[in-house]
C-alpha cells in the first residue's frame, strides 16, 4: 500500500484539553506490565511448584529442593535426556542441511519445478503436525504402506526403523526443515548480489561465488533457525508419544508426560522441576546463540539499492537435483499425508486388501457421531476465531508501542514478544496450569476455555509479531509526525494513522494465528478439563487409543479446515505461510 494514499483528517484530531488527562507514558507502562504478566509471569508459579513440597493448590508445604534431587537421581530421566539430545542433534543437522539446501536451490538457481517443490517443502509447517506424524506411522512403520511397497520394489527392507531415534528424527526433520528454509530464503532474497559479482569478476565461477560469498552470509539465519529447531526438537511430545512407545524410547516430553499422567499420584513437583530444567537449557541456548551470531551488523550487506541475485545455472544437473528433491519430498511428505487420506476413506488399509474395494465414509460418520470430537472442533474454532482476533489486535498495539514510541522499555517488549517461541509448549502449558490453579483455586475459571485460549495465544505471539512487524516497519514515520505536530496525542496518531495503514497486515497475521491456534495442542495437555477438549489434543488422545480409520478421518477434517482457512486467507489477503 502506498503511504501517500493515507487519509489525513485534521478535524478528527483531538483538542488539547483531552491530551493531558492520561499521560501516554503511563499507558505505555501499564501495557508493558500487562504484557509481562501474561507472557512471562506464568513461569513464576512453575518455579514455585518445583521448589515446594506440595502441589500449589493444596495448603501447607514448605520450600524444598527434593523435587530436583529426585529428578536427578532418576536414571529414566537421564535416559530421556540422552535420547532427546541425540534426537535434537540429528533433527537439527538434518533440517539445517535440507532446509538450507532447499532455500539456496530455490532462491538462487534455475531448478525446474520450483513452485511445486516449495509447496511440498513448506506444507508440513502449515498442516497439523499430528497428522503428519500419523501419516509417517501409517506409511513408514515397519509394516506400513510405504515400507511394504519399498520392499516389493527393491527387494530390501526400508533402511531405517521408524521406531528408533534416527527414525523419529526423520519425521521431525520433515516438520522442521521448512523453518530453516524460511529463514534462509528470507536472507537470500535481501542479499545484494554485487558481492557475488565482485567474486565473479575476480574469476570465480557462479557456483563458487554462491558457495564462498553468499553461504557464509547465511550464518545468522542458519544459527537462528537451527537453534529454534533444536529447541523445538528438545520438547517434542507427539512424536515421542506416538512413535517412541513401540520401541520403548522415552524423550524428555514423554518422560514428563508419563510422570504426570501415567503415575498415581502424579509427581507434579518432579515434572515442574523437569520443566524448569528444560526452560533453563533453552534460555542458555538463546544466550549462546547471541554470542555465536556475534555482531549482527557484520552481516549487513544491503546498502543503497540491492538488485536481484543472479540465477546460478546448474546445467543438466538441474534435472537430476530436482528429481531427487521431488522424490525425497514425495516420500517424506506427500506419501504419508496421502496414506492418512486413504486410511480415512477406507474401512481397512492393508497391503492385503485393494483400498478401492473398501472405500467408505463411515469413518467420518463415526467421528461426527462422537460428542468429544465435535465438541473439540467447536472449541478449537472458537479459540481460533476469538483468540486469534484478540491476539492480533494486542500484538498490533504492542508492536506499535515497541517500534513507534520513545517508551523507555520498548526493547524489552520486542524481546518479550519473540521469546514465547522458544518456551517449550509443555512448559507453557504447565505454567498456565499452575497460574490458574493459584489464581482460581475453586476451579471455576479453569472450567472455561479461557486458560487454554490464553496459553495458546501467548505461545503464538511471536508468529503474529513476525508476520506483522515487517509491514509496520515499511510505513514511514512522517505522517505520524505530521499528526503529532498538528496536536494529536501519541495514541491518537498511532490508532488513526499507523493502525489503519497496517490493517491488511493484521488480517494476514490473523489468518496465520487462526491456523496455529486451531492445531495447537501441547500446552493444553495440562490445562484441558472435561468441558474444554480441543482438536489437537483430542487428535493426540485418539491416536494413542483409537483404531486407524476414525483417527485418520479426524486428521483429515483438521487438515481440510486448515487448508480452507489458508486458502481463503490467500485469496482475500495474499497470506503466505511463515514461521
Amino acid at each position: 500500500m502506498s503511504v501517500i494514499d493515507a487519509p489525513f483528517d485534521a478535524a478528527a484530531l483531538p483538542d488539547r484539553r483531552r491530551r493531558s488527562r492520561v499521560p501516554t507514558g503511563l499507558t505505555h507502562y501499564a501495557l508493558w506490565a500487562l504484557a509481562m504478566i501474561v507472557i512471562v509471569g506464568p513461569l513464576v508459579p512453575v518455579l514455585g511448584a518445583s521448589l515446594w513440597t506440595k502441589p500449589l493448590y493444596e495448603s501447607g508445604g514448605h520450600l524444598t529442593v527434593a523435587n530436583y534431587a529426585h529428578l536427578f537421581a532418576d536414571p529414566q530421566w537421564w535416559g530421556a535426556v540422552r535420547n532427546s539430545l541425540l534426537f535434537a542433534v540429528t533433527t537439527t543437522v538434518g533440517a539445517t542441511v535440507f532446509g538450507t539446501l532447499g532455500a539456496v536451490l530455490i532462491a538462487r538457481t534455475d531448478l525446474p519445478g520450483k513452485r511445486f517443490i516449495t509447496v511440498m517443502l513448506v506444507a508440513p509447517i502449515v498442516l497439523p503436525g499430528l497428522v503428519l506424524i500419523l501419516g509417517w506411522n501409517t506409511f513408514w512403520a515397519p509394516s506400513g504402506y510405504g515400507s511394504s511397497w519399498f520392499q516389493s520394489l527393491f527387494g530390501i527392507t526400508v533402511p531405517f526403523n521408524l521406531y528408533s531415534i534416527p527414525g523419529m528424527a526423520l519425521v521431525s526433520i520433515s516438520m522442521t526443515a521448512p523453518i530453516v528454509f524460511f529463514f534462509v530464503r528470507g536472507v537470500l532474497s535481501n542479499l545484494d548480489s554485487t558481492l557475488e559479482d565482485a567474486a565473479r569478476s575476480s574469476g570465480a565461477s557462479p557456483l563458487r561465488a554462491l558457495v564462498s560469498v553468499t553461504v557464509p552470509l547465511l550464518r545468522p539465519a542458519i544459527l537462528n533457525s537451527g537453534l529454534l529447531v533444536f529447541a523445538l526438537a528438545l520438547e517434542v511430545l507427539g512424536i515421542a508419544l506416538i512413535l517412541g512407545s513401540p520401541g520403548g524410547i522415552d524423550l524428555i516430553g514423554s518422560y514428563l508426560y508419563g510422570q504426570w499422567f501415567q503415575k498415581v499420584p502424579a509427581d507434579q513437583g518432579l515434572v515442574s522441576a523437569g520443566a524448569v530444567c528444560l526452560l533453563v537449557v533453552v534460555s542458555l541456548l538463546l544466550l549462546l546463540r547471541n554470542r555465536l551470531a556475534g555482531d549482527a551488523r557484520r552481516f549487513v550487506t544491503v546498502t543503497g539499492k540491492p538488485r536481484a541475485g543472479v540465477v546460478v545455472r546448474l546445467g543438466p544437473a538441474r534435472w537430476v537435483i530436482a528429481a531427487v528433491l521431488i522424490v525425497v519430498l514425495l516420500l517424506g511428505v506427500v506419501g504419508p499425508l496421502a496414506s492418512v487420506v486413504l486410511s480415512a476413506f477406507t474401512s481397512v488399509l492393508s497391503p492385503f486388501v485393494n483400498p478401492l474395494s473398501v472405500l467408505t465414509t463411515s469413518n467420518f460418520a463415526s467421528v461426527l457421531d462422537n460428542p468429544l470430537a465435535t465438541q473439540s472442533i467447536g472449541n478449537s474454532l472458537l479459540i481460533a476465531t476469538i483468540g486469534g482476533a484478540v491476539t492480533t489486535v494486542v500484538v498490533a498495539v504492542l508492536s506499535i508501542v515497541a517500534h513507534r514510541s520513545t517508551f523507555r522499555l520498548r526493547g524489552s517488549l520486542q524481546q518479550a514478544m519473540l521469546w514465547p517461541r522458544t518456551v517449550p509448549g509443555l512448559v507453557a502449558g504447565m505454567a498456565f496450569f499452575w497460574a490458574f490453579a493459584v489464581l482460581s483455586p475453586g476451579g471455576s475459571l479453569r472450567d472455561s476455555l479461557i486458560p487454554i485460549a490464553i496459553a495458546f495465544a501467548v505461545r503464538n505471539v511471536a508468529l503474529a509479531y513476525s508476520a506483522f512487524y515487517p509491514a509496520l516497519s515499511a510505513i514511514g514515520q512522517d505522517m505520524e509526525r505530521a499528526a503529532r505536530t498538528s496536536g494529536a496525542t501519541w495514541w491518537r496518531a498511532a490508532t488513526s494513522i499507523v493502525l489503519r495503514l497496517v490493517v491488511p497486515a493484521m488480517a494476514a497475521s490473523f489468518v496465520l494465528l487462526f491456523v496455529a491456534l486451531l492445531n495447537e495442542y501441547d500446552p493444553a495437555v495440562f490445562l484441558v478439563t472435561p468441558d474444554t477438549p480441543v482438536m489437537g489434543l483430542t487428535m493426540l488422545q485418539l491416536s494413542l487409543t483409537g483404531v486407524g480409520g476414525p483417527v485418520a478421518a479426524f486428521g483429515v477434517i483438521q487438515m481440510v479446515l486448515t487448508l480452507l482457512v489458508l486458502g481463503l486467507g490467500r485469496l482475500a489477503f495474499g497470506v503466505r505461510a511463515r514461521v
Partner: protein, 366 residues
C-alpha cells in the same frame, strides 16, 4: 504456503467423489440375549428423576470409544433425558485425571471404569469411591464384588490375535508357550501391551502367578521378539497391515470389533495356558457432580440388559441370565474351566507390581 487456485479446486471433486461412495453396511453384530427369567432391579424413580436435572454423566475409562459408544447409545435410548459423555484414557490417566481435577475443583468424572486393580485399590484407600451399593448386587456372582464399592462390569479376557494371511489358522499356536517357540522366526512381528497399560500388568500378574518361573522362561523367550504398544488400537492397525503376525494378551474387546469387522484378515484365539480374566471395575466417584445420573448408568451397566448391550461391542458379560457368544460361559467352554485365570484386585497384585514391572521391562526393553 502457496496453494495454487487450480490445485485447490481440483481436489474438491475428488473428495466429493469419495464421499459419494457411501457408507458400507455395518459389520454384523455378536449375538447377545437376555434370558426370559432375568431379574430386573432398577434404581428408584426418584434417582432417575433427579438424574434428569443433572449435567451429563461424565465417564473416564480405558475402553476405547468404539467399544463404549454402543453401550452409551443403548443406555440413552432406554433413559431419554440422561446423557453420558465418555473420555477414553489409557493407563493411569483415568485415575490421575480424576485426582488432579478433583483436587483443583474443576468438573471431573462421575464414574470411572478401568481394569487396573492396583490403581483401584489405591483409589479406594484414598476414600474416593462413593459409598453406594447398586440394586443389582444380589443378582451378581460373588467375584463381581471387587471390594470398597468397586464392581466388575465385565470379566475381560486377554486373547491372542493373528493375521491369518501371514499365519494360517491351522498353523497358529494354541498356547503362549508355543507362541514363544516362534519368537526367533517372527522377531519384531509379535506385539503385546506395555506393562504400564491397564491390562498389561494385571494380565502379566495373573499369568505369572499361575506359572511362576516357567512363565518367566516363556516371557524371556518372547521379550526380545516382542514390540510393545500402548493400545489395542495400534496393535490392530499393524496386524491388519501385516506388521505383526500375532498380538498376545490383547484386550478381548477385539473379538467383537476388529475380528468381526476384518474377518478376512484377522482371527483370535483363547490361549490354553494364558487366558486371564481381568475384571473391569466401575464405581461412582466421591467428587461426582452428577451422582444420580452416574447411579442410573451404573445400574444399567450391571443389569442383564446392559450386559447384553456390552456383549455387542466387546465387553464380556458374566451374568447367568445373559447369553453372549463372548461371555464368561463361552470362554470356560473354549479353554476349560480350570484354565481360566481369574484376576482380582487383591493385595498380592498390588505389592508385586514394582518388582514384576522392573523385571518385565528388563526382558522386553533391552
Amino acid at each position: 504456503m502457496k496453494i495454487t487456485r487450480t490445485a485447490w479446486l481440483a481436489s474438491v471433486p475428488l473428495v466429493l467423489a469419495l464421499a459419494a461412495c457411501g457408507t458400507s453396511a455395518p459389520a454384523d453384530q455378536p449375538q447377545a440375549q437376555v434370558r426370559a427369567n432375568a431379574t430386573f432391579t432398577p434404581v428408584g424413580d426418584d434417582v432417575i428423576a433427579a438424574a434428569k436435572t443433572e449435567q451429563p454423566v461424565l465417564v473416564y475409562g480405558n475402553a476405547n470409544d468404539e467399544q463404549m459408544q454402543p453401550v452409551i447409545q443403548a443406555f440413552q435410548t432406554k433413559y431419554p433425558g440422561i446423557t453420558v459423555k465418555y473420555l477414553p484414557l489409557g493407563g493411569a490417566t483415568t485415575f490421575q485425571r480424576y485426582q488432579g481435577e478433583a483436587a483443583t475443583g474443576v468438573r471431573t468424572a462421575d464414574l470411572l471404569m478401568d481394569n487396573d486393580g492396583r490403581l483401584w485399590s489405591d483409589f479406594v484407600a484414598k476414600g474416593q469411591v462413593l459409598d453406594y451399593r447398586d440394586p443389582n448386587m444380589p443378582s451378581l456372582p460373588k467375584f463381581a464384588d471387587l471390594g470398597g464399592g468397586v464392581v466388575a462390569v465385565s470379566e475381560d479376557p486377554l486373547v491372542a490375535m493373528f493375521n491369518k494371511k501371514l499365519l494360517p489358522e491351522d498353523k497358529q499356536p494354541t498356547s503362549l508357550a508355543k507362541i514363544a517357540d516362534l519368537a526367533t522366526q517372527y522377531k519384531g512381528k509379535i506385539s503385546t501391551y506395555e506393562i504400564e497399560d491397564s491390562l498389561g500388568y494385571p494380565s502379566a500378574y495373573a499369568y505369572l502367578e499361575k506359572n511362576g518361573q516357567s512363565g518367566w522362561d516363556v516371557l524371556t523367550k518372547l521379550g526380545p521378539a516382542t514390540v510393545t504398544e500402548a493400545s489395542a488400537g495400534s496393535m490392530v492397525t499393524k496386524l491388519l497391515q501385516g506388521g505383526y503376525v500375532v498380538a498376545y494378551n490383547i484386550s478381548g474387546s477385539v473379538r467383537a470389533l476388529a475380528v468381526r469387522k476384518y474377518s478376512s484378515l484377522l482371527n483370535f484365539r483363547y490361549l490354553t495356558d494364558d487366558t486371564p480374566l481381568i475384571p473391569r471395575g466401575v464405581a461412582v466417584t466421591k467428587a461426582a457432580k452428577s451422582p444420580n445420573g452416574a447411579k442410573v448408568f451404573l445400574n444399567y451397566l450391571l443389569s442383564a440388559e446392559g450386559q447384553a448391550a456390552g456383549c455387542k461391542s466387546g465387553f464380556t458379560p458374566y451374568r447367568e441370565d445373559v447369553d453372549c457368544e463372548y461371555g464368561l460361559n463361552a470362554i470356560k467352554a473354549a479353554v476349560g474351566e480350570n484354565n481360566v485365570l481369574y484376576g482380582d484386585y487383591g493385595p498380592g497384585m498390588v505389592s508385586h507390581q514394582p518388582e514384576i514391572a522392573q523385571r518385565w521391562n528388563g526382558i522386553f526393553h533391552k
